[in-house]
Amino acid sequence: MPPPPIRKISLDAPPTVVHVPPIPLNGNGNGNGHGAPAGGLHTPGPPSSDAPVIERMRCNAVTIAYGPKVAVNKVDLPISQGEVLAMIGPSGCGKTTLLRSLNRLTELTPSASRGGVISLDGQDIDLLEVTALRKRVSMVFQQPNPFPMSVFDNVAYSLREGGSKRPRKKELMEPVERALTRAGLWHEVRDNLDHPALRLSGGQQQRLCIARSLAAQPEVLLMDEPCSALDPISTGKIEELILELREQIAVVIVTHNLQQAQRVADRVAFMYLGELVEYASGEQIFNAPQAQRTRDYVGGAFG
């Protein structure tokens, strides 16, 4: 049998946005995108919620640089409770950097510098005390990172280490249970609260990290690709969780997975090489993007 022909990929081809007739999907909202080009990517968006949309945080002309290299360039972005904001874009576009600057985690890197104003409920976060800020703006990381302690100790961690008086275990039981219930983990661990957290499965660990962040009752939850290391079932559970949480907490999720962004996001911000290219509702970004570059990215022309 002769070897298959070699096809040349034409680098000069104009960026195309192909309109594909909508494919009827059955059943679950989990899209099965087979890399189909956009403009007809009909993964259904998130269910609409009745909760009022309140703006909690706002970025004004935020510029972040690591040494001489500019990672984020003059970004204006609102973050609101009642809706989920997804930040999408190719690797290296600055979305993770921007996310980390929302709770001043970029300060852990010595070479980072930041310009512009980020405000939380109208207050400049630079003027707030940083540990107080981080209790109000919590973060969940890409790799689940539960501490080498028991499940209970993990969730109670920020409550115990917050102030000078150390609460007793009985007082902590209720907030811990509440946080674990909100994270959807309570029924799975209620009998194993003293087991080491590192023995949980990957999905459970990530939900534990979410519970840990929720324990201090934050106002904003930042999620940096929370499901990228997880299997589809855990991913589904966490996405349900996000949709439940958005009514009380402003959720910002950075994701590489366009289908995931479609499933959970009410608002989408597309970033490219440090610039905020387009910010609009999910439907608009995925079905009728205004900017050419957005169209190219969502259409899969680059990634």
Partner: protein
């Protein structure tokens, strides 16, 4: 045609050892035999002293100084060798000096390590590493020299009251050297080892945990203490074991600063407890080495050496055992 790969029977055949392997292996085995022989030799020589004293060897009773002198002056007839010894003051001196040095040295080393790794400004951080390395490099005889020539006279002038000296002069000579000086200098000697091990472990704590703790709004001190130090507990145990082994084996410095008199300090003396002289085990060997030619004294010294060897081995085992339950919550 049967395309299946042949089933592997048992282990894959090994190549025969080449000449280099045989030579190197023989050398390593010879070293092993020599070391085992040395251990056997030490215990064999130590045996008469233990067999004559039984477990009372470790007990107290009488003046150890006089007992050692009597052993040295044993008649030359092997049947009449004197072995009577109650070595408790020596053991007590070792336990006291090592115990105090580690007890105060560990928190000090832990705080220094935390300082070096996290809380010192960057310029000071760079300065601390050569400081620790310098302290580790100073030979023990130099520590002993400074101790006996500088600190001991200071203690003698300022901390020892003249009446106390006179009161006990018949029993024990009080000078600057003693438990306080020995423990203090021993602490300075073992702290660099502990700092090196603990700071390495603190730096090796996964960044994800530090960031996670910071992201939860926990301040730097709590983060380091609750996450980093907690994760570094096996290393802290290892540091304590290594430091204790070093302290046990220290002979020359202790011989110079411990007061050169075999004595069990009495805790009921209050603060003067720290000013009384001691004689740790290793320092005894150095102190008595001139009389080694007298066979029973030599065997007694071997008995002391055997106790030191067994203690080192027990320490290594204790270090391993302490780390086991700490593995429960850790990833490794």
């Amino acid at each position: 045609m049967n395309d299946a790969p042949p089933r592997a029977r048992g282990r894959t055949p090994r190549r025969p050892p080449e000449r280099a392997e045989l030579w190197l292996g023989a050398l390593a085995a010879t070293l092993l035999v020599l070391i085992l022989g040395m251990l056997f030799f030490v215990f064999k020589e130590a045996w008469p002293s233990f067999s004559h004293n039984g477990l009372a060897w470790f007990g107290s009773g009488g003046s150890t100084q006089q007992q050692l002198a009597a052993i040295y002056e044993s008649p030359s007839n092997p049947d009449d060798y004197v072995y009577h010894l109650r070595a408790w003051p020596l053991i007590y001196g070792t336990l006291l000096s090592t115990g105090l040095a580690v007890l105060f040295g560990l928190p000090f080393a832990l705080l220094c390590a935390l300082f070096m790794v996290e809380f010192a400004p960057p310029g000071v951080q760079r300065l601390m590493t050569p400081v620790v390395r310098f302290l580790a490099a100073v030979p023990s005889v130099v520590y002993g020299l400074i101790g006996i020539l500088v600190i001991a006279p200071w203690i003698d002038r300022n901390l020892v009251s003249a009446e106390f000296k006179l009161d006990v002069n018949a029993l024990v000579p009080i000078s600057g050297g003693g438990l306080l000086l020995a423990s203090f200098i021993l602490m300075v000697m073992i702290v660099p080892i502990m700092i090196a091990i603990i700071s390495d472990a603190l730096r090796a704590v996964p960044r994800a945990w530090i960031e996670g703790s910071a992201a939860l709004g926990v301040n730097r001190w709590r983060t380091m203490w609750k996450v980093a130090v907690r994760t570094a507990r096996p290393a802290i145990a290892a540091a304590v074991v290594l430091a204790t082994a070093r302290a046990l084996g220290e002979a020359i410095m202790l011989a110079m600063v411990s007061g050169s008199f075999i004595w069990s300090p009495n805790p009921l003396d209050g603060l003067n407890f720290f000013l009384e002289p001691i004689m740790p085990l290793a320092a005894t060997i150095v102190g008595q080495q001139e009389g080694f030619s007298a066979i029973p004294l030599g065997q007694t010294l071997y008995a002391i050496a055997a106790v030191l060897l067994v203690s080192s081995a027990l320490l290594s085992f204790a270090g391993w055992a302490v780390r086991q339950p700490l593995r429960r919550y850790a990833t490794r």
